[in-house]
């Protein structure tokens, strides 16, 4: 017998359903509901701006080269910065090959208040970093702006990026960070490869092993506490758990892919050959290469965009030549083509200049963000060139010295070490000839000699500036020697000549520099005329958890001859000081002779990567050098 339900029961059931739906908004997924209900508080993570409650990436690679990348994020903001970071969520994609589909986007301020993102809250923009290069690339950002976002809101975003057209480059591999600054409750990354395909992977910095189920590889992170980012750290891939993965069979597969793209574009044609004749008349191959390089580096405009953003197919060399601008691919193609036209071998090379280690066991192109050219002379000598280096002395490769680069030869792709052709010192030497005036003023000459990284930094600041602006920069430099300084004269070497060192010389006078206190005169030897020769190092913290990555290993020196008024007694000059440890050294010397003070300093840092465990030594070195007593001079006015 079928019992008919009492109307009261029916009503109660209806009321219960309504109550649940009113209470729950639209969150029906029990796992998500639970995460929201039990979301941690800021007090649980006092250093974090937000917490990733749930993050799932599921990349499905199809055998035809297409792919779908599903994503699901549930993030709780803890504060103002968390709100800023996640309130406008950006998803990068290539409009030509991909589309972004948003299935769910909503702000959750408690389960009873769920606000969906409406269509006005989803916008497509050209990323700001692409604003002068949009001709090259169809990369866009989908921006999802979450409504009703407060400091402690939760956002949920579900969607996918999928191919709408077969991409130019097969999806061979990538790298993913499993850890970031913010803490994570649960994060999974799943890569599904086509049947019969093997995924090579390599975990770094303690990343967990994936669970492998057939052709699915899943990495999982749970209860990650987060980190506090430290200044001057290397990129996160260098110290946070991450994984590199690839379906490529080897670097030769990558090499062949590149050769297919580049070979036909590199072949010199009449336009290239004519240009070569214009650019170089030398019969010496080394000189010829130099002439070609100087033309490509300086005369062809750099379109600055990371490698890969616009794909890997360069334009024809003669097209690049005609246009007069190019990104890293195009300028390499042009450089190689011109060098080939001169009968010299040259090869494209791929490198990473952001300080991210290349995992040579996991072949995929996204490891690289820049291209170089390796020239190979008949006598076996090799020369590395960076066609984007329009602010460097010829032969210097900014940010890549000593890095491993993948060179695509005609017979295969191999890794080589990037080295400098010239003997680069990465040094700044400044010579001061100063006169302290009886009234406390200071006048003198300053000569600046720079090399390597410092040459690059100096040229960068003034090479393309207007003459009047160059003068302003040097005035500013004179003012860091002595406040209120008046520039009397200046000589600047031709910064546009990349074959000659950058030299700067100026003379100045300033009315006030030393402090006169009755019969005592206090003077600090000036040690910082230019920003690039300044000492800005992150040594204010007590300790560090993560390494430091400096722009370069370096050496800086200052040599001073300071004339002192005849009626001043030199009471105190800095005591000689020095320190040497495995990271570097510093020394300060001063001597009084014939009424003059001869002062010099040097500081040398031996490497750019400073491990966390070496921080104390590094701090000791820098702090020891910067001690105020190292440049204090005390004089007394004779009675």
């Amino acid at each position: 017998m079928i019992k008919r339900k009492s109307p009261w029961v029916v009503s109660l059931i209806v009321i219960a359903i309504l109550a649940v739906s009113l209470y729950s908004g639209e969150i029906t997924n029990p796992k998500i509901r639970s995460l929201i209900e039990n979301a941690p508080l800021k007090s649980d993570y006092p250093d974090a701006d937000a917490i990733i409650l749930y993050s799932n990436k599921n990349l499905i690679l199809q055998s035809d080269g297409n792919y779908v990348n599903h994503f699901h994020y549930l993030i709780k903001s803890f504060n103002y910065m968390g709100k800023k970071d996640y309130g406008n969520f950006k998803i990068q994609y290539d409009e030509e090959y991909e589309e972004v589909i948003i299935d769910t986007a909503r702000t959750i301020n408690g389960l009873a208040k769920v606000d969906d993102v409406d269509k006005t809250g989803i916008n497509t923009i050209t990323p700001p970093w692409l604003s002068r290069g949009s001709i090259y690339s169809n990369v866009k950002e989908k921006v999802i702006s979450f409504p009703s976002m407060q400091d402690t809101s939760i956002i949920e975003l579900v969607g996918r990026i999928r191919t709408i057209k077969l991409p130019e480059e097969p999806y061979l591999g990538d790298r993913d960070l499993l850890e970031l600054d913010n803490p994570v409750l649960e994060k999974t990354i799943t890569i599904e490869v086509p049947e019969g395909t093997t995924l090579k992977y390599f975990n770094r910095n303690g990343a967990p092993e994936p669970t492998i189920s057939g052709n699915r590889y899943t990495w999982r992170i749970n209860d990650y506490k987060g980190i506090v980012a430290e200044p001057s750290s290397p990129p996160p891939f260098e110290y946070l758990a991450c994984t590199y993965y690839s379906t490529a069979t080897g670097w030769d597969q990558i090499g062949n892919f590149i050769k297919d793209k580049f070979n036909s574009k590199i072949e010199p044609d009449d336009a290239i050959r004519n240009k070569l004749e214009e650019v170089s008349s030398s019969t010496n191959t080394v000189e010829t290469v130099k002439d070609i390089f100087l033309f490509v580096a300086d005369k062809v405009r750099n379109v600055d965009m990371p490698l890969g953003i616009a794909g890997y197919t360069p334009n024809q060399a003669s097209t690049v030549l005609k246009r007069g601008y190019g990104d890293t691919r195009d300028k390499c193609v042009l450089l190689i083509s011109l060098i080939k036209a001169a009968g010299i071998d040259a090869y494209p090379a791929f490198v990473n200049d952001a300080g991210i280690t290349i995992e040579e066991g996991i072949p995929f192109l996204k490891q690289f963000n820049k291209m170089l050219v390796l020239v190979s002379f008949k006598d076996g000598k090799k020369l590395w060139l960076d066609p984007f280096a329009d602010n460097c002395k010829y032969g210097y490769i900014p940010d890549c010295m000593g890095e491993r680069a993948l060179v695509v030869y005609s017979d295969g792709a191999r890794f080589e070490q990037v080295e400098s052709y010239i003997n680069v010192q990465n040094s700044a030497n400044i010579k001061y000839d100063l006169t302290l005036e009886p009234g406390g003023g200071l006048s003198g000459d300053v000569k600046v000699f720079v090399d390597g990284y410092f040459d690059y930094a100096l040229r960068y600041s003034i090479k393309d500036a207007r003459p009047k602006q160059v003068e302003m920069e040097i005035e500013k430099a004179a003012n860091t020697v002595a406040s209120g300084a008046k520039l009397l004269d200046k000589t600047v070497s031709d910064m546009k000549d990349l074959t000659e060192p950058a030299v700067l010389h100026f003379s100045f006078e300033a009315d006030k520099c030393a402090s006169i206190q009755q019969d005592m005169v206090i003077f600090y030897v000036p040690i910082k005329p230019f920003e690039f020769t300044g000492l800005e190092f992150p040594v204010s913290s007590e300790g560090r958890e993560f390494p430091i990555l400096l722009p370069t290993a370096f050496e800086k020196k200052g040599e001073y001859e300071i004339n002192v008024p005849a009626d001043f007694n030199i009471e105190y000059t800095p005591e000689n000081a020095q320190l040497e440890n495995p990271l570097g050294s510093f020394s300060v010397t001063s001597e009084v002779k014939d009424g003059k003070i001869y002062y010099s300093y040097s500081i040398k840092v031996n490497k750019r990567h400073i491990a966390a465990g070496e921080y104390e030594s590094f701090k000791g070195l820098v702090q020891g050098f910067l001690s105020p007593k190292n440049n204090l001079v005390l004089l007394e006015i004779k009675k």
């Binding site: 006092p46 916008n123 002068r132 921006v143 702006s145 405009r301 402090s515 206190q517 913290s541």
Partner: protein, 665 residues
């Protein structure tokens, strides 16, 4: 009317012809010839005689011609033709001009580029194909979390540029709808950062809508003017020749404030104010949700001021700054306040109107106000010069409170950078434009108090307390808000490290908690220690007061240092607000020392600023120093005095209190 329309058509045709003739082009300019061809002799002559680096050593390019012609109609719609011929005279110029961005608003304008080409030194012409003209969103807006997809930029990519190339283009702007119905206004510049050989602006409009106009910053009277009556139309022409380039100086006011420029308008400030009010009125209706929130916020508040403050803090801090394009007059008309409230997000116009509506709901007289905190607004001409919106509340006793709800850190409700800037209150009867008053530096100054003890081994242990008023308080809050936990500790470590590289923090404290509680002043207290602080130099003990170089000052001395490095200035120094910092310090010395020499007290008072410093010793060393910046913009003739303040400060920073062992204890 028919006659009027006929006249418009004739004028357009005539103007086009004149334009073409004056530009000396070949017939068929409006076509895009394929392949390359050669420029005619007259054009080449113009280019060759324009000059080179010899004549213009500081230029990267020479603008040979910069011409625009605008025709407007009674409803405020217009069509504008912009023509430019620019010769590149350096390689850097060739690189810089490789791309050219043209902003435009798709809600109000269509843009056509019928001409874009390069004329090479040999006369060959390269026409820019459509494929080299892209359309993108404005990156500047995106960086401010404004995602108005109607604001876009056309980018022309010029290939094959080298020193000696000349670029030529014509752009046509046509209104889709006027920004302000029945109003036409225009601004354009006769000067740029490159020299300009010839510049002309022509405006044609109905005689019934006469133009008020003004040329700004033209001390040498380079711009001439002509007016022609043409029946029902009037033609206004401004032109100038050989206009020198502006060489940018660090810290100068916005270029648009300094360059020779034209402002023109058919309206008055009162009518402008009324027009904005017309757009505003429909969006100001509140609903129950808003009214309920207002009631909640003002509950228990007795004075109108307290109510204003409560509502202001809510809008400033709870309504997120976010720009989403939702209306047909996006950028001009605020979103309905009910929508802004529901979304809890909006840009300045949305927040300002919501604040006004909420204040009105609380029974407080309130208005929407246009402002511009960055540029100088010219009072003489009612042209669009505003880029921001704030709110005015008026209490029953007639006191006015200007409120900027975009700034969530401002205790005073109007940040200091609004001082002396132009504003326009929008109400139904219309208001005239006015300028906000200047503020004395004390209203925006920092205060640093330091107490320390030096031990016999030279170690110093001390406590510094940092607080401030006005913008100083605001900056403290911003710094703290953006960094929490370990990041904040790192910031404090950096501050202390500025005293001495050996410094270390013992403890620190920030009040109030939360820092966004604007009812309490922001205060940072730091306890620190520095080994080997006092210098033993032979028989002397040398002590530099901890606050001598203002290490705990958040920004004042940085500004002073940054902006006094040039020997002289051609342009004013734009600091945007008055401010200062005062430091009081007491240092207890180790026993057994007496003062040998203390630096002399100093006091400098100039119109743009002042500096003072004093040392006293009696049982302990007492040190005081202060810097005040009295003007938000320092004219070139006062720069030297301003620089003297920095020089004095720098010289004083070499000073040391010198003590000597007391032979007689």
């Amino acid at each position: 009317m028919k006659r009027f329309i006929q006249q418009i058509i004739i004028t357009i045709l005539v103007l086009s012809f004149l334009f073409w003739v004056n530009c000396s082009h070949k017939p068929g300019i409006w076509e895009m010839p394929s392949g390359t061809n050669k420029a005619d002799e007259e054009l080449m002559q113009k280019i060759e005689s324009a000059g080179s680096r010899m004549e213009y050593p500081n230029a990267k390019a020479i603008v040979i011609e910069d011409i625009d012609s605008t025709i407007f109609t009674p409803d405020g719609s217009f069509t504008q033709y912009n023509y430019s011929l620019t010769k590149l005279i350096t390689l850097t110029g060739a690189k810089d001009y490789g791309t050219m961005g043209l902003p435009y608003d798709t809600l109000f304008f269509e843009i056509e580029i019928p001409l874009a080409r390069i004329i090479q030194e040999d006369g060959s012409i390269i026409n820019i194909p459509d494929s080299l003209i892209t359309d993108e969103t404005m990156s500047d807006l995106v960086m401010m979390d404004v995602f108005w997809t109607n604001i876009r930029r056309k980018v022309i990519n010029f290939p094959e540029l080298s020193s000696g190339s000349t670029i030529e283009y014509l752009i046509i702007y046509k209104t889709i709808q006027p920004r302000f119905e029945g109003i036409f206004d225009n601004s354009r510049y006769f000067q740029s950062d490159e020299p300009i050989k010839y510049s002309r602006s022509v405006v044609v409009g109905p005689a019934s809508m006469p133009l008020d106009w003004k040329i700004r910053n033209d001390e040498d009277n380079l711009v001439s003017f002509d007016k022609k009556e043409m029946g029902e139309l009037v033609k206004y022409t401004w032109e100038a020749q050989d206009i020198p380039q502006v060489i940018m100086e660090e810290g100068m006011p916005p270029f648009t404030d300094m360059a020779i420029g034209l402002l023109a308008s058919t309206t008055t400030w009162r009518d402008y104010s009324k027009k904005i009010y017309e757009y505003l009125e429909p969006v100001m209706k509140t609903d129950e949700a808003i009214e309920s929130k207002v009631a909640e916020l003002i509950e228990g508040k007795e004075s109108e001021y307290e109510k204003i403050r409560a509502i202001f803090y809510y809008v400033a801090q709870k309504i997120r700054y976010l720009g989403l394009a939702m209306s047909s007059r996006e950028g001009i008309q605020p979103h309905p306040v009910t929508e802004t409230f529901e979304r809890q997000a909006g840009v300045c116009k949305d927040k300002a109107s919501l604040l006004a509506a909420m204040l009105q709901s609380a029974g407080i007289e309130a208005y929407y106000v246009l402002s511009n905190p960055l540029n100088h607004v010219d009072k003489d001409i009612a042209a669009s010069q505003f880029n921001h919106a704030i709110t005015l509340a008026v209490t029953k006793d007639g006191k006015r409170y200007f409120l900027d709800s975009t700034d969530e850190f401002c205790q005073d409700m109007l940040p200091a950078y609004h001082q002396e800037q132009g504003i326009l209150v929008c109400d139904k009867d219309g208001e005239d434009m006015e300028y906000l008053p200047s503020q004395p530096p004390e209203m925006n100054s920092g205060k640093v108090d330091i107490k320390s003890t030096i031990q016999p081994n030279g170690t110093l242990r001390g406590t510094a307390t940092i607080s401030g008023k006005g913008i100083y308080d605001e900056v403290i809050r911003q710094v703290v808000r953006m960094q929490e936990g370990a990041q904040l500790k790192r910031f404090i470590e950096r501050l202390v490290n500025r005293v001495h590289p050996n410094s270390r923090i013992i403890e620190y404290n920030i009040e109030p908690d939360p820092i966004m509680n604007l009812y309490e002043d922001a205060v940072i207290t730091i306890e620190f220690e520095i080994e080997e602080y006092a210098i033993m130099a032979g028989k002397y003990l040398l002590i530099k007061p901890v606050g001598l170089e203002y290490p705990f000052d958040i920004f004042v001395t940085t500004y002073l240092t940054m902006f006094t490095q040039l020997e002289e200035r051609k342009f004013p120094l734009n600091i945007q607000f008055t401010s200062g910092v005062v430091s009081n310090e007491e240092i207890i010395l180790p026993p057994g020392y007496k003062a040998k020499v203390l630096p002399e007290s100093k006091s400098l008072n100039y119109k743009p600023g002042s500096f003072s410093m004093s040392y006293q010793f009696k049982d302990k060393l007492i040190f005081r120093n202060s810097i005040m910046i009295n003007e938000s913009e320092i004219p070139p003739e006062e720069y030297e005095d301003f620089r003297k303040i920095k020089e004095e400060m720098a010289e004083s920073s070499s000073g040391l209190a010198i003590f000597i062992k007391d032979e007689q204890p």
